[in-house]
């Protein structure tokens, strides 16, 4: 072997070694982990991400509050409907009593005494009055 071959062999060995090292480096290289990814983000991006996270948390809280308010409004509407039904029933009872009163008054054999008795027996038909008594 002449000197050229020796030098070339050494250079070839160096190149091959560098190539092998690069291959090993490529194969042993692990994928970027989450922590490294965070480190690679610059500061403004991190601030933006934090702001976004805070906004998302605030939006979640507001959504929960809105859901709670909607549930309360539904409950109040249900109560109002129930009260309206009760008032309607009382008005119907009152109208029926008034009709009965008119029929009693217009009856040909009705006297003041008998009307007083009938009214007192019928009692306070008004539901509100019953509630107040109760």
């Amino acid at each position: 072997m002449n000197w050229l071959t020796v030098v070339a062999s050494v250079l070839a060995a160096l190149l091959t070694g560098a190539g092998g090292a690069a291959m090993v480096n490529a194969l042993a290289r692990r994928t970027v982990t989450k922590v490294e990814a965070v480190n690679r983000l610059n500061e403004s991006t991190l601030e933006w991400a934090e702001q976004l996270k805070a906004d998302a948390a605030g939006a979640r809280v507001e959504a929960a509050e809105a859901r709670r308010e909607a549930a309360e409004a539904r409950r109040e509407a249900t109560d109002a409907r129930r009260e309206m039904r009760a008032i309607k029933l009382e008005a119907e009872e009152l109208a029926a009593f008034m009709g009965q009163m008119v029929r009693w008054v217009q009856s040909p054999d009705m006297s003041m005494e008998r009307l007083r008795v009938l009214v007192s027996q019928a009692g306070p038909l008004n539901g509100l009055a019953r509630k107040m008594e109760g």
């Binding site: 050229l4 071959t5 062999s9 690069a22 490529a26 194969l27």
Partner: protein, 136 residues
């Protein structure tokens, strides 16, 4: 007058690189499986070095091609590794050809040395691209 936009046309793959890597892998494999190796190599190197040389061609070709098709940084490093190993084998062949045949081997050795230089050039390109990518 507004400056004209610069349109850069570049293919995704380099056909010269890939075909040379494939040829290197095939020829190296054929030498390993008994095909007669080049006379200059056989004359100037002991048998086990010839085997290493052929194995180097195979490894360089296969790994280099895998690196060319592997997306991302890992693929580029693999490609660079294959090209460096290939450069070592090419240097051995060019030296053997020049030392055995002298000036008569000017053209084949020149082609091989150009191939070697292209490998190193591409390795430098990859190194710069990776460094620029990390700096961003």
């Amino acid at each position: 007058m507004a400056a004209r936009p610069v349109l850069v046309l570049a293919g995704k793959r380099n056909p010269h690189e890939q075909l040379l890597l494939a040829f290197g892998a095939l020829s190296g494999a054929s030498f390993l499986f008994g095909a007669p190796e080049p006379a200059s190599i056989a004359a100037s190197m002991p048998g086990f070095v010839v085997t290493l040389w052929a194995a180097g061609l195979v490894i360089a070709g296969v790994v280099g091609l895998v690196g060319c098709w592997w997306r991302g940084e890992r693929g580029q490093v693999l490609e660079a590794g294959g090209l460096l190993v290939g450069a070592g084998s090419l240097l051995m062949y060019a030296t053997a050809a020049l030392s055995v045949a002298g000036v008569r081997a000017l053209f084949p050795a020149g082609v091989i040395l150009a191939w070697l230089a292209a490998n190193l050039w591409r390795v430098v390109q990859i190194h710069r691209e990776l460094r620029a990518g990390r700096a961003e």
